[in-house]
């Protein structure tokens, strides 16, 4: 019961801040609401018993990436009002299509989740290590080794790309 109350409170905050992120006029405020949003997502991870993921969420997203957002937003001239487009609805078709796609995806996930919950649940294979961090590490280097390596390659490519873009004559 207490868990349900906590979950719905946190979820309400997450959705509320997410709405504020996209509706706020001031870009810096919008970035700040994004930070709050990430912090509440971290709280959700704590509730799920995944402290490692929660801490990484705060460290990487709230503490790292959004600081860079803020950095960029502060360097961009925000005092100038946004340029009025000739056609304010020019992006609406694309936006609707994207929203519909995301909605469909979420519906499929929720539906398949219910389908799985109805069937017999397979208990997760016992891991040879205890402790949340150790378990995450173990899984990353055994079952999920290839996705993990691909993700790290992707980050490496992004890093090299950024350097190449910023420094054309090395």
């Amino acid at each position: 019961m207490a868990q349900a109350i906590a979950f719905y409170t946190i979820a309400a905050f997450i959705l509320g801040f997410a709405v504020l992120v996209v509706t706020t006029k001031d870009t810096v405020h919008s970035v700040l609401f994004l930070v709050l949003d990430f912090l509440f997502v971290a709280a959700l991870y704590v509730m799920l018993g995944a402290p490692f993921l929660a801490v990484i969420q705060v460290l990487v997203y709230a503490g790292g990436i959004v600081v860079l957002y803020l950095f960029v937003v502060m360097l961009v001239n925000l005092k100038r009002p946004p340029e009025a487009h000739q056609d304010p609805h020019r992006m609406s078709k694309l936006g609707l299509a994207l929203a519909a796609a995301v909605l469909l995806e979420l519906a499929v996930i929720v539906a398949s989740g219910y389908a799985r919950a109805a069937g017999p649940t397979v208990p997760a294979a016992a891991l040879p290590v205890t402790g949340n961090t150790e378990q995450v590490g173990w899984l990353l280097y055994t079952s999920y080794l290839i996705p993990f390596e691909i993700a790290s390659m992707l980050l490496l490519v992004a890093m090299i790309g950024a350097i190449v873009l910023a420094k054309r004559d090395i």
Binding site: V28, V67, L70, F71, T133
Partner: protein
């Protein structure tokens, strides 16, 4: 009921109101005194004998001062910024172990507020949120010097965070755990403080710690001569004091983390040498506080001794010296660890 709520609450109250807040206020006095002695002055002498009541007088003065918000400031962010920098500085103490589990009033009491599986990462992540206080203070003031200071601060803090976190990884490789208590126990089991096995990591960590807390010689975000103050130029009264206290609270955090990771936390010197058992007369938490105090003193000593870095020198040191050294240290630690096992 008592073990779940009352004991942690009491611990939090003791750590905050008997530990951190008095320590922070008296750090200000200590700093003024030590710098005065370094410059052949006396320092505060008027309030109380040898000026020991100076922090009280300062607190009263700051609370009574008029609290000014600039007209063009971003009011909400301007109000939130000091709070955002103070809160992370305080909640970090949740995982710092001041001592082992001891018997107190017939109960086993751990001398730390909590011990979580991801303790060290928790400290790093909370510290990374603290950056917002400085950036937002500079932005919300809507004034050019604070804005410059906050841009400097954000670049500096992000740069040095990388080097510091890399040194922490090599400590984790040594200890095999992220729990702060686990790290101290690992040092007890190996019989060596990690400062002796990871001297380079310790040096990088301490230099990075100076930069992360905006202390001299890396105090560019609050350079009086260049920026008429820094990110807190437009703040006055108690809000200004919050930034000040947050900086000192962060210094205490860096000192305690350095003690825990590299100098054996609450362990006495040479914890495995049986002939030195008489050192156990001193309680473990006094060892911890003594070691942390040494680091705090070094912080002040460095400020009184070294001139400020130039901004390009700061960036060069961070990216071209500390980060490569930290990566090399990490690789060597990993190789040695694998060879020995």
């Amino acid at each position: 009921m008592i073990d779940e709520f009352v004991v942690p609450l009491l611990k939090i109250l003791v750590v905050l109101f008997a530990g951190v807040l008095p320590a922070v206020t008296y750090m200000v006095l200590l700093e003024r005194k030590v710098i005065a002695w370094a410059q052949s002055r006396l320092g505060p002498m008027r309030v109380g004998p040898y000026g020991v009541l100076q922090p009280v007088a300062d607190a009263i003065k700051l609370m009574l001062k008029e609290d000014i918000t600039p007209v063009k400031a971003d009011r909400w962010v301007f109000t939130a910024a000091p709070i955002i920098s103070m809160v992370p500085a305080l909640i970090v103490y949740a995982v710092i172990p001041f001592g082992p589990t001891i018997r107190l009033f017939g109960k086993d009491v751990a001398l730390s507020i909590t011990d979580i599986n991801v303790g060290l990462l928790y400290i790093v992540s909370v510290a990374s949120v603290g950056v917002y206080g400085i950036i937002l203070a500079g932005y919300a003031s809507n004034s050019k010097f604070p804005l410059l200071a906050s841009l400097r601060a954000s670049a500096q803090l992000i740069s040095y965070e990388v080097a510091v976190t890399l040194t922490l990884v090599s400590v984790i490789l040594m200890s095999g755990t992220l729990s702060m208590i686990g790290i101290v126990n690992a040092q007890y089991n190996s019989g060596l403080w990690f400062a002796f096995v990871q001297p380079l990591a310790f040096v990088i960590f301490f230099i990075g710690g100076l930069a992360e807390t905006n202390r001299a010689p890396f105090d560019l975000p609050e350079a009086e001569q260049e920026l008429t103050g820094g990110f807190h130029t437009e703040y006055s009264g108690m809000r200004f004091a919050l930034f000040f206290l947050a900086e000192y609270a962060n210094m205490i955090v860096v000192s305690s983390v350095a003690t825990t990771l590299f100098f054996g936390g609450w362990l006495r010197p040479f914890p495995n040498v049986a002939g030195l058992h008489f050192l156990d007369v001193v309680p473990s938490w006094i060892w911890f506080l003594t070691k942390s105090f040494v680091f705090l003193y070094i912080f002040i000593w460095v400020r009184a001794t070294l001139p400020r870095y130039r901004y390009d020198q700061l960036m060069r040191l961070g990216w071209k010296v500390l980060i490569p050294l930290a990566i090399a240290n990490l690789v060597v630690t990993g190789i040695v660890k694998v060879m020995l096992v």
